[in-house]
Amino acid sequence: MARMPVQFRLNGSDRAVFVEPAETLLGTIRRGLGDFAPKFGCGQGTCGVCTVLVDGEPRLGCLTLSVTCEGRSIETASGLADGPTLHPLQAAFMEHFAAQCGFCTPGMLMAAKALLDRNPNPTRVEVVEAIAGNVCRCTGYEPIINAILAAAQQRGVRRA
């Protein structure tokens, strides 16, 4: 089948790429554009390790067709840090031991970023809801939840 051109913004830079009509955003970002931060875990929308932001909203890369992303802005964990300066979520994940194998981390961070961007002061329950679609088989979630809450608090302090 004929490949189709798609243009979108990936972590702030404009990218153009030819994709198969049925190609997933996850496949395009990873093998097409070489950003390997989002992971493949199931391809069925059940694990969340492929989570990226599309126009600020968390989306499962494995269930999003690349052709639907024309003109949109995509964010992955690779674009979180500002040069050597870590995003507060990244710093908090380090501080709170919120990763073991690290495979769920890029998706987890993006789900958390989407939450904090629209709700800077989430409750514990809201944090749990925000990452409910992201499976972590190593940590038991508790350190991740604590890290997200700590990042929210720290951002509040910075803003104040």
Partner: protein, 559 residues
């Protein structure tokens, strides 16, 4: 004892050891949070090909024919691999340490033994094309009767799952149908016990469910080597296994890995490495073989099912005087690592307790299930669960608090364990005391004052005489339903050796291919849990060594 040579590199080392008790940042954490950690699949290659396998829809079937003509002509297909293309299409993982016989093909040829067993591999330009071609392979089968229950599989006349082990049990040292532990006289103790309690426990298979599925990318390098990005938990173990199966010198394989997206034991089997490398050899291009989530859940090895039957004799005052455990481990269709798990199980019987009379029999059984493998304490987890539930039931039976009951029966420093190792650094009593304190569980003064450091050893360090039959043996197990057919005129029973005062571990004999159907003598009394080997056959030719065993620096032969 370990000797620390502090004189070596003294000037390069800070001896001010101060790490324990403080938080320390992981060296890989920055990579994880920035998305820069490279897992096996996070490597780009030009011209990357994708490998997918045809899997058996049957639990057990003879393969009548395999037709790959249509698949070979399908769009994007670069190569079809069959069992005949695999240089050494029969392997067992622990052959690298000389333990067990080769029993598992990389691609099934004449028979499939579990649902999901790989038969044909397809390499194509895209995953979609490889998956489409998989559907075009025509395999015709004669379905065979199946066996899924460990005790059914051990019955005489049961369907033979894996012809390498015709009795459906792993043969320890090519000779014994199970692992046996004997300590004291269990029967006599049962007769004098105030209560005897027998219970049966079971554990289902458990899927590791790591967030990253098993997979490998292999690519030719320019120096006649292959680079292999692997998910393996034991990278050099996988390198040795791949070298053996592909009959390659191991220095032609450049394995890169150690960054594992969750393993928990599910990434020690080299499920994808050999085929990915073979694909790279046959196509001259980078080949990626990654399991989908469904393949991972259904067909990649889980922790195996276990069944434990525990019979205990206990006195009214709470002392356990006899424990008998019969364990059945479901290996699935092939050995992989279950044989080793069983050895661990036997060494763990009868749990962290000092019991004067112990009898254990543990079987590694083949069934038509997905082959099992390692997972977090495998061999011990299931039997521990069973023992601890049994401890609660016993405590209830004699009317003693379950915490006190454990302290009363706990092993202490200097005690002899049933597998003839003296217990050191025991701390069960202290653990129970701490737990009781944390949850405000009242303990008696005696239990609070108990210590692992005192009260052990002395008479508790003795090895009681082991009951033997008139020929000095500990008898054929009655735990398997019936003895296997003995072949008349087969190898004689090994001569009985008197038990040495201090039992010493003797290494197993070198693996010899069985010349005829093996016979199964009962085990000599002096070997627990690892039976003493038969005396080596004089002038026996050295067993053939494959490249992996010769070159591997990690799996040196333990002898």
């Amino acid at each position: 004892m370990l000797e620390f040579r502090k004189d070596l590199f003294a000037d390069e080392r800070d001896d001010n050891l101060n790490v324990i008790g403080k938080g320390e940042q992981r060296q890989d954490m920055l990579g994880h949070v920035t998305g820069r950690t490279r897992f096996f699949d996070d490597h780009g290659f030009d011209g990357l090909l994708h490998l997918k396998v045809v899997r058996s829809p049957h639990h057990h079937a003879r393969i009548r024919s395999i037709d790959v003509t249509a698949a070979e002509r399908a769009p994007g297909v670069k190569r079809v691999i069959r069992g005949q293309d695999v240089p050494l299409n029969k392997n067992t993982l622990l052959s690298l340490i000389d333990f067990g016989k080769d029993d598992e093909p990389t691609l099934a040829v004449d028979k499939v033994r579990y649902k999901g067993e790989p038969i044909v591999a397809i390499i194509a330009d895209s995953e979609a094309e490889a998956l489409a071609a998989v559907k075009l392979v025509r395999v015709s089968y004669d379905p065979l009767p199946t066996v899924f229950d460990v005790q059914e599989a051990l019955k005489p006349g049961a369907v033979v799952v894996n012809e390498t082990y015709p009795g459906n049990y792993f043969e320890y040292h090519d000779k014994y149908d199970h692992q046996k532990l004997r300590f004291g006289d269990v029967e006599a103790a049962f007769r004098t016990a105030d209560h005897v309690l027998e219970e049966r426990y079971q554990m289902s298979p458990i899927e590791h469910a790591s967030t990253e599925t098993n997979g490998t990318i292999a690519a030719p390098e320019t120096n006649n080597r292959y680079v292999v990005h692997s998910c393996a938990q034991g990278l050099f173990f996988s390198l040795g296994t791949t070298a053996k199966i592909l009959a390659l010198e191991s220095n032609r394989l450049h394995f890169i890995g150690g960054t594992v997206g969750g393993g928990f034991g599910g990434k020690v089997d080299s499920l994808t490495e050999p085929l990915a490398v073979l694909g790279a050899i046959l196509t001259g291009r980078p080949v990626r073989y990654v399991l989908g989530r469904e393949e991972e859940m259904q067909f990649a090895s889980p922790r195996g099912a276990e069944r434990h039957v525990i019979k205990d004799g206990v006195m009214r005052d709470g002392r356990i005087v006899a424990r008998q455990i019969t364990s059945y481990f479901d290996a699935g269709a092939y050995t992989r690592l279950t044989s080793y798990g069983v050895v661990k199980c036997v060494a763990h019987m009868p749990g962290p307790y000092t019991i004067p009379n112990v009898r254990g029999d543990a079987y590694c059984v083949f069934t038509n299930r997905v082959p099992a493998t390692a997972m977090r304490g495998f061999g011990v987890t299931g039997v521990d669960f069973s023992i601890e539930v049994q401890m609660d039931k016993l405590a209830h039976l004699v009317g003693i608090d379950p915490m006190e009951f454990r302290i009363l029966n706990a092993y202490r420093d200097g005690d002899m364990k049933a597998h003839r190792r003296v217990a050191h650094n025991t701390a069960l009593i202290e653990c129970v005391q701490v737990v009781a304190e944390k949850v405000n569980w009242p303990l008696s003064e005696t239990a609070r004052r108990a210590s692992s450091l005192s009260g052990g050893g002395g008479p508790r360090a003795a090895i009681p005489p082991t009951v033997t039959d008139e020929s000095g043996r500990i008898g054929r197990p009655e735990t398997r339903q019936a003895p296997p057919q003995l072949t008349p005129g087969a190898a004689p029973l090994p001569a009985h050796q008197p038990r040495p005062a201090v039992p010493v571990y003797q290494p197993p004999p070198a693996h010899q291919p069985a010349a005829a159907l093996p016979n199964y003598p009962s085990q000599p009394a002096d070997a627990a849990p690892l039976p003493a080997p038969a005396p080596p056959v004089p002038n026996a030719p050295a067993p053939p060594q494959h490249g992996a065993a010769r070159f591997s620096s990690v799996f040196t032969r333990r002898r």
